[in-house]
């Protein structure tokens, strides 16, 4: 579980369309919007990787100007990394590059 809060910016005139487009993305919830085109958005993702994909989708929406992170909770993932159940390494077999070392 990774939960993130964002202020999504769009042109004020496209606010309603943007809210609809955001909500059409699964795992995205809109909590409010103002007249300047700022949209309070929360993403409930399975993982950082999942979050990244969702953010990229949000950024690619035609009406969206910026996606600004304000809050992130990744406690489940951090715990798994600390326990060795999850590797943050994109090259998981690599430690062995350190194989050039001798002890």
């Amino acid at each position: 579980m990774v939960i993130a809060g964002f202020v999504v910016q769009c042109q004020p005139q496209s606010q309603q369309d943007t809210v609809a487009a955001l909500e059409a993305i699964g795992q995205v919830e809109v909590f409010g919007a103002d007249e300047k085109g700022n949209i309070v958005t929360v993403v409930d993702a399975e993982s950082s990787a999942d979050l990244e994909k969702i953010v990229k989708r949000m950024e690619k929406l035609e009406q969206v100007l910026t996606v600004g992170l304000t809050y992130l909770n990744m406690e489940d993932e951090a715990e798994k990394i600390a326990l060795g159940e999850l590797s943050p390494d994109p090259f998981p077999r690599k430690p062995l590059k350190k194989a050039t070392m001798t002890t």
Binding site: I3, V40, T70, Y71, E75, M101
Partner: protein, 795 residues
């Protein structure tokens, strides 16, 4: 209804975002507080660019579990970018260095050794080099990512202990021309204003900066300003259309290196149409042809005759019209407040200082300075290039507190503060970065300490310098958190260090703002903070060299625990003894004050009471800058007290258009430029290890204008060979209307030997700032194959 932890976190996330907008939600934080949460929040700065974004790291059971922005921060107002969002993944990364590694020869394999053995080897090698070859046979090469305490302490040991000024850092590669530009135009380093001008500016002139990718949070502020005030004009001047260009009202696209003509042409129009501020010029401005040669306004005006808009448009390649130049000049001069921002597009140039002078000229001529919304603001690339390296003595020619090394009384002040004998600090500047690595090539540097940076990848024309670093003539110590191309190729000894939030210290960002980050979690077992490493190493050096002066250098820090007391004592010495009375006075900002601030203090801040207000928003303005009042020489509202200008004036410089060191020709017909991509930081030793960031941009590619691509038969994804007189890369093509026709552009983060673009870039330097011309060289390109599946690569 029972609220789950998931619900609680979602509501917390929503409240966080809503608080930035002053928006009320149907639930509140008081209600949320009912849900049990034992997260402890630690405030600090992001370390992945020069903006200085403030954030809080949430820690639970000793683990980083949450992040949130600091809405009260005047740098980022709470917003963070993707890089900032994911840096926590570095903290428990399986690749972290946790044991000292040693090899006697660089062809040997590393072996793990104890810290005691490692420190003894480091001390032996440096002491031996000094004894046998003299003090200038050793060198320090640091980083704009090191904490101020680290840079300050390293340079203290090298200058005061080992008696060499061979103290440099990678900011020489990114902002040395900005420093020299400020010194020569305004008489003092670093900007007059800061980010606060963004929300007041009516004209925003962005040149040589892709801030949308390199400084995304600042870009967000610019975009918000434009959205809230559609009449604000945003002008983007760059040979390449980038993500930044999408908010521009006017984009000026010109051939690389011709922007000096553009800036002179803007000055031409400003004067020709009498848009300059005569009274401001009369009161505050001098005109200069050379260091010792003055001239007058009329001579300056005459010098611009070669830069009519029509002539400049021709020089610039013909895509910009004379009318566009006139329009931009008018907007620049007549807006209520004009703010210019730039980065490496101006700085990383053989004419980098001149380019900086020319943009300052426009602000001086029009008086678009010192008032709300008006400033000439160089954006810094790294989080502590300003605070640590520019201000705390991290370059070969400056001592802490902006003291030029050649001034004996200023050297004596430092010696007195350190309690070392007069004359201990050598009078001659040390070797600047490119001269230092040339000396490595020549075998003249026998022992070198490289801290928190990877010159094997980041130096221009790197293959040339890597030959020297790979030789056994120079013993190299690297302090870092991950393996890098430099630890791999050049290091004899690798010492594992603590990462950000795993240690305590101060960063100083673009706008003269110093901000503290306190230790929040433990580093991996075996990794140590640099300040502890330096102290222990210096203690051994003192014994091996039998030199009590080295002992004196560490005396104030003996016995202090390294997590807080040691960096605090170092900051106290630096801020209280060496900034007091200087233009970067931070004596009002000890840790106690910095810790009480959401976002730190802008110098000058000579008293704690003043520092607690946030410090000086505008330098040189009486009523806003305490030093302007204290050092005033007349009753005028602006006081230019910078030590480099004894006449207390701003200087307008006559600087002609001048070509880059290498121009395209028949053999190498393209301009090559390089830059950052949003997801990666420098040599990607950090961001390449974060899966989400690596996936976003797993390798570098070369951007080619569609007209060039069609002419050369290159299609998107084709593998393209890029060759200069120095080296070759092969990377996939991205064909799009970014670079101007005749120019290609490559991102520089990729570590793969085929795609390390600094093998191709040029090592020509600005004669004043000694900064290399990464941004422009000549190359040729050709298709070598169709698309190929590539794998990302990291050392």
């Amino acid at each position: 209804m029972v609220q789950t932890r998931r619900d609680f976190l979602k509501r917390t996330a929503a409240l966080s975002a809503a608080s930035y907008l002053g928006m009320l939600l149907p639930f509140n934080s008081a209600g949320e507080a009912l849900a049990a949460d034992d997260t402890v929040w630690h405030r600090g700065s992001c370390r992945l660019c020069g903006t200085g974004c403030r954030l809080e790291l949430g820690v639970k059971n000793g683990l980083p579990t949450a992040l949130r922005g600091v809405p009260e921060s005047r740098t980022n107002m709470g917003f963070l970018c993707m890089k900032g969002m994911l840096f926590w993944k570095v903290m428990n990364h399986t690749d972290r260095l946790t044991t000292p590694l040693y090899r006697a020869k660089k062809s040997d394999k590393f072996k793990k050794i104890s810290w005691d053995e490692a420190m003894n080897i480091a001390a032996d090698k440096f002491a031996g080099a000094v004894k046998e070859h003299g003090p200038n046979s050793v060198a320090y090469y640091g980083s704009g990512q090191a904490l101020t305490e680290e840079t300050y302490f390293f340079q203290k040991i090298f200058r005061g202990g080992l008696q060499t000024n061979n103290v440099e850092g990678n900011p020489r590669l990114c902002m040395a021309s900005a420093t020299a530009g400020y010194m020569t135009s305004f008489g003092a380093d670093e900007p007059i204003g800061g980010y606060a001008d963004i929300e007041k500016a009516d004209c925003i002139f962005i040149i040589g900066s892709n801030m949308a990718e390199a400084h995304p949070v600042i870009f967000r502020r610019v975009m918000r300003r434009k959205l809230d005030n559609p009449k604000v004009t945003v002008i983007n001047a760059d040979p390449r259309i980038s993500l930044t260009s999408r908010i521009a009202d006017i984009h000026l696209q010109f051939n690389p290196g011709t922007d000096l003509a553009l800036l002179n042409a803007l000055a031409y129009v400003i004067i020709d149409e009498k848009l300059h501020n005569e009274q401001f010029i009369k009161d505050y401005v001098a005109f200069k042809k050379g260091k010792e040669e003055s001239c007058d306004f009329e001579e300056y005006k005459k010098s611009l005759a070669d830069y009519t808009p029509e002539k400049a448009a021709t020089i610039m390649g013909g895509k910009v019209t004379a009318d566009q130049i006139r329009e931009v000049a008018r907007k620049f001069a007549t807006s209520k407040g004009t703010l210019s921002m730039w980065t490496m597009g101006l700085n990383q140039r053989k004419q980098g200082v001149w380019a900086n002078n020319l943009i300052h000229n426009l602000h001086i001529l029009t008086g678009q300075l010192l008032k709300e919304g008006a400033d000439s603001l160089s954006l810094t690339g790294q989080p502590n290039a300003c605070g640590g390296v520019r201000e705390a003595g991290g370059l070969c020619h400056i001592l802490p507190g902006h003291r030029p090394i050649e001034k004996e009384p200023l050297r004596n002040q430092v010696e007195e503060a350190w309690g070392v004998p007069k004359g201990r600090i050598p009078a001659e500047p040390g070797l600047h970065t490119m001269a230092m690595f040339t000396a490595v090539n020549e075998g003249k540097i026998k022992a070198m300490w490289i801290n928190c940076t990877s010159p094997v990848q980041s130096l221009p024309n790197c293959d040339l310098y890597n030959k020297g670093m790979a030789k056994d003539d120079t013993f190299i110590v690297c302090t870092d958190i991950f393996p890098t191309k430099t630890t791999e190729l050049a290091a004899n000894l690798v010492l594992p260090t603590a990462f950000h939030f795993e240690k305590t210290g101060v960063y100083g960002c673009t706008e003269r703002r110093s901000q503290i980050t306190r230790k929040a979690i433990n580093p991996p077992k075996g990794a140590r903070p640099e300040v502890e490493i330096i102290r222990d190493w210096a203690a051994l050096l003192a014994k091996k060299l039998n030199d009590p002066v080295i002992t004196q250098c560490i005396k104030p820090f003996e016995g202090l625990e390294p997590e807080y007391a040691l960096p605090k004592a170092i900051w106290d010495e630096y801020s209280q003894k060496l900034t007091k009375g200087r233009d970067n006075d931070l004596s009002g900002a000890p840790y106690e004050v910095l810790e009480g601030m959401f976002d730190g203090v802008q110098w000058p801040a000579p008293t704690a009471e003043y520092a607690k207000t946030g410090g000086t928003v505008k330098k040189f303005v009486r009523g806003m800058d305490p030093l302007a009042e204290k050092l005033k020489t007349d009753d005028k509202p602006y006081q230019f007290y910078g030590a480099a200008h004894p006449d207390h004036k701003l200087w307008v410089w006559l600087r002609p258009q001048a070509n880059p060191a290498e121009m395209p020709d028949a053999d190498y017909p393209f301009y090559l430029s390089t830059g950052r991509i949003i997801d990666h930081w420098h040599t990607m030793s950090i961001t390449g290890r974060i899966p989400e960031l690596l996936r976003a941009n797993p390798y570098a590619y070369i951007e080619i204008n569609p007209k060039d691509a069609t002419r050369l038969g290159i299609k998107p994804g084709d593998m393209v060979e890029i060759t200069s007189r120095r080296g070759t890369n092969i990377m996939p093509a991205k064909v799009y209307e970014g670079p101007i026709e005749g120019m290609v552009f490559a991102y520089w983060h990729d570590q793969h030997p085929d795609r390390m673009i600094n093998k191709v870039t040029i090592d020509a330097i600005d004669p004043g700032s000694k900064q290399p011309e990464f941004k422009i060289c000549a190359c040729k390109i050709k298709k070598v194959s169709g698309p190929q599946a590539l794998k990302p690569y990291i050392t």
